[in-house]
Amino acid sequence: MRIQTFKLVKTTILVLGLIFSVMSYGQGETRRISGTVTDSENGEPLIGVTIVLKSNPSTGTVTDIDGNYSLQVPDNNQEVLTYSYIGYNTEEVTIGSSSNIDISLELDFQSLDEVVVVGYGTVKKSDLTGSVASVKAEEFNPGPVVSVSSHLQNTAPGVVMTQTSAQPGGNFSVQVRGQTSLLGSNEPLYVIDGLPISNDNVTPGSSALVRYSPSKNPLNGINPNDILSIEVLKDASAAAIYGARGANGVVIITTKSGSERTQVNFTSSLSIQEISNQYEFLTGSEYAQVTNEWSEFLGLEPVFSPAEVRNPAANTNWLEEVSRDNGTIQQYQLSASGKSGDLNYYLSGNYYEHNGLIKNTDLSRFTGRVNLNAQISDMVKVGTNLTLSQTDNSNVHFGDNAGGGNFNGIFTYRDSWPSNVPVYNNDGSYSKHPVVPELNPNPVSLLDISDNSRDTRILGSLFTDFSLTNELSAKVRFGFDYMDSDRGGYVPTSVLTGAQVGGDGELSSNQNQNILSELTFNYSKQLGNKHRISALAGYTYQTFQSEGYNVHGQNFSSETTNINDMSGASVLLPGYSYKQRSKLISYISRLNYDFDDRYVLTATMRADGSTKFGAKNKWGFFPSGALAWKIHNEAFFSSSFIEELKMRLSYGQTGNQEIGNKLSQALYGSTRPFILGSGEQIAIGLAPVRPENDNLKWETTTQYNVGFDISFWSGRIQASIDAYRKITTDVLLNFTLDPTSGFETITANAGALQNHGAELQLKAINTFGGFKWTSGFNVAYNENRWKDRAGLPYANYEIEKGPVQGIYSYVVDGIWQSGDDIANSAQPSSQPGQFRFADLDDDGRVTGDDRELIGQGVPDLTYGINNRLSWRNLELSCFLQGVYGVTKFNYDRASLNNVNDILFGRNKSRQVLSRWTPNNPSNTIPSGIVNTVGDDFRNSQYYENASFLRMRNITLSYSPSIEKLFSSFRIYVDVQNAFTVTEWTGIDPETGNDYPNARTYTLGFDVTF
């Protein structure tokens, strides 16, 4: 079979070569050149190398499976042939008089001349002074992803991405080098093609609890296939150019621009998803049995008759009832790129559709992009980057998330609905909850709720470059980001909560608008042989506006028209609207000085003026400085195998201004309603919203970074090591006020936090035989602690300078057994079958102080391991991602393993079959009788280790050389989430427990004409 395949390929190539020969016949005086192309390292033939005539790129061929080629060229000794192959350095050969040209190509290890995008410019990687992680499009996994966030997941050390919900388009939380803020945002600033965007979610939330669903990722509107590279600015030297927005790092996204050769690219993929993991619930019969056992244990009458235990009315798996057999994802992308005269263009269109594992959870998106730039004179270049997208989401109701678990939502099957209840009554109506029929809507009935949102985004910029002199250029940029989102939801009367009010419907609309005007000057000059100076100075002006409104009605005249005819709602509840604007005025400057290619110095300064802050603190100044020492260019340094050895030192300050608007002023806002008059009309007042706060300002992060870049053996092994310390001061904290002030709390800049950590990135390229093996490894360690709590109260058992996300909990020390001397223990009121808690302070009593630090909610270590193995035209790649040292509360297990509330009709895990009973002295699962001391829920048993190692992607791709039909072709299969190694006993250690995580199988292809 394998041999046959190769024969087929060989035949195809021969045929193609023949066709090509015929096509090129008759172009004047020609002669034939033939030869073999091999790998310089091992002499293996290279297959599919593109060979073109430089003077006429339409004349060309590719090497066959033995590395051989043959090409008819004009009979001119000056003609040049270009040999290019992905992953190898391109070679040019003048043909001279020979008719046989054998050539060997050298592997192209990531070159030090690679250009890295930094704020307001680019820099050669070798000249970098700061800590910047760069991810190129080639390194993206080909599997389907809806947002760029997935591409960042642990591929860059120090960037911790956590998917917060597995629903289609679900959100991510992103932290660069740890948490710096408690009340403000901890998300990095995103800059897309030079435009800093606001990453606030624009999709309206739902004011009605019956339609809650976690927010979607705001970056869904940016098509990841259009992205050329992602850079993450991590240290202060790199990020300080973004001043008051740089404290959490900066993610710079650069989209593709026109290529030199005209290319049309089409990619498509189709994926099937299955649920990766789920709980085992009690069967109908077991549920009835356990319920009766519990009643008997409490001395009550049995709830179910023996017949109902033997033959339960149903055996419902509530998850299956609301799930699809499989989720599906399909995507199509067509792009064209090229150059026509002085105009470079990149155009693309993309369609992405994801039908999730749970019914009614769908996402479909269209995006279009136009990137143009044109040299309109020697001195002036104009261009635009423009993208349009429309994303349609349909949502299900997750539940109102009260107390950590979700109630009354589609996932209540876990908690609230036992398996011995059928989905439908005999008459076809939805069954009611057996114990609390007026509170718990049937989970399947919630699928009748319609809840759809449409997000539209127009993001782009127009720019003009002026080359004023050889040294001085200026750039004017006008950028805009417009986001509009409309959401409509209707809870029909077939749903309990809808029936109670005659149908409940809501329409909301939000718009966000971000406008940037920017003028920058760049100056660059070489002074003598040894000195090079470049400088940047600029002014930027950016406004952010958001506004929205909502109408909410009940008791609709027609269920058919529902929210499409709001005038049909006989009850209109108070709606809302809002409008806010903030403004940021900034002056930026940067100086780079390079001495003899040995020392590179960078200094930046940004001044930011923001409307968000108090009258006394409108302007912030953010300086930074960095030095790189290229040791390998020193005369004293000589090494045969070290190509690069560079040390980087940096220091700087950045700020965080993402705290919301209107926090510094004394304002009056609308109150909640009250009733006035004999006619009992709704009336409203205006009351002070919050105390005036003139001193309010940004949070300041001071960061020190030291790093080394090393490259060995012609770049086959590259490593970067960084260590940093970040201290955030003026951290905003909420202080409780004396109530005589009239306000509960005030937000003030007072506390301090610190992060320190280290990062290692390693990359190795090996070749042996015909194999090329590229492996990448990155690991990051971060420790996040309080530095100053600024007098904010904390509990006795808490550590003053402990971890910010520290988890303090009772420690379970087993379960009391029948023979134990409970009366003389530290918890004399307990009974056999209850948790035994450790008396940590040895005071002879289990009290609230018997809690200790048992873990933290953010990982100590995050790591990624990437391996890519290619042999001829086959490539196998896999990406492992892991986090270590993170603890999370497993609400599901705490609730599902506790039979305490089973008489309320709550479902339980099958694990309760082995709970403690007098006849089954379990030492892990308690009896269910509530302890009056300690905590039966929030204790060390249910705070679990959520560390994991996940095979995020395995991809096998095949790129046959059929290049006369296509200039490149690739077909691949990909598995996302193939497996996860973890001690976590819930559904998924990363995304939490609501939406089941998926394993995704993808088949796709990628073709370029």
Binding site: R581, K618, Y668, F674, L676, P793
Partner: protein
Amino acid sequence: MIRFKNILTIITFLLLISCDQSLEEDVFDEVSSANFFQSDQDAITAVNSLYVKLRGAGVRTTSDGQAWGLFAQGESIFRVNQDVTDETWTTWAKLFPSGSSGVLESFNFTPFNAGGGIYYMYRDLYEGVSIANNIIANLEDNSAVSASVKNQVLGQALFARGLFYYHLNSLYGEVPLILEPVANPFDTPFQASEEELVISISSDLEQAGQLLPVSYPSNEYGRFTKGAAYALLSRFYLNKKMWQESADAANQIIDDYSLSPDYASIFAPDNNGNPEILFSVLSIAQAGLGNAYLAASAEPDQVAASWGGDRVHQEFYHSFDPADIRRQLLVKTYTSIFDDSEITLDDEDGAVILKYAEDEDHVGPWASNDIVVLRYASVILDLAEALNEINGPNQESIDQINRLRARAFPGDPTKLLNLTDFSSKEQLRNHILNERSWELYYEGYRRDDLKRHGKFIERAQARGRNAQPYHRIYPIPQTYLDINPNQKQNTGY
């Protein structure tokens, strides 16, 4: 070259001048303090927020701890004045002894477990004070507001401030007295003396009584009235044993209002406009805007969407004359709405309180019965008590009490009191204390009344509670002691 330089210069220039360089924040959806109190409408809108305060905890949102508030069901003023007395309790106290009901019932409140009502009342009453202070200060020397509106708004704000301080003083004793807007929110004020508080509260209520109208046009019904101001003032003086002042305050309005002919109608779903009501929190059958007192007392199988729990003590139930129609609103047996079975409550748990009759159109627990805060009957009893304290048993006191007994025992003149029945001041005093509870139960009067009669602690001890003399007032919540070093904890805690 020159051309492009010129273009660039122009662009730079335009960029710098076209952009508004001011860093003052634009505000669109809220009103800056500089632009407020500029018209009659502003003043009225500002004073409206005080009415919101009476219903909900946070005037702006429901998310600050609890959604109910001073007079709406929940951790209300009523509860902290009732559940420590011989009048009412809640069965939740048995189920959750460490919950706030259990803490009240067992006299186990401490500065640390002052969560629930004891904590919320302190916080919310001061939030109300702050709103009132802000209105009063902004009306001073304000020429943008007309004199007539200014007087009405001022009257309402003064009444509200008096009401908030009345309860602060009653619940927590010698609390800080703040009468101006607080300039520095981090201020940590000292406590005021009892004398200062008495002067301030009585002066606020007296001024309010002079400024406020006896009644409002129908679209303004529900605002604070003259009657409310003098009723509260009379009650305040009574508590302070300033008998003559109490009688004078009562006499200010005794002829302005009248009793409702029918006792039950005062609390009925259509009680809006009932002549006896001096102030009520208006309610409609809508979430957050309704009356949930019935739902808090009626058993789940008694009235749909109820959760139950509030009861009168059995001794209190049995203290009534069985013929008293006021006891008809307390029930110990009912028919289940689920299966029509007859349910009889355990006698020891007392009786369910159906004072707020069922609203057929209720939405969930929310009913449209206005929540009665002050009514004319209490003024009558205040006057009767004050006159007895001044003169001993006297005909006017007897006549006033008989106005209520005539309504309680319709067509049965034998139940009316005679002056000759009372040989001593103390005998009539004791009767008035009982009469007050029969008339005013579940309306939040009992704690003050027992305290005034010196029986608050004694009766709690008689019920077997661990009550101590210092329990006459509640502790200052520890949270606020931690913040304010100038504040001393009440003695005993």
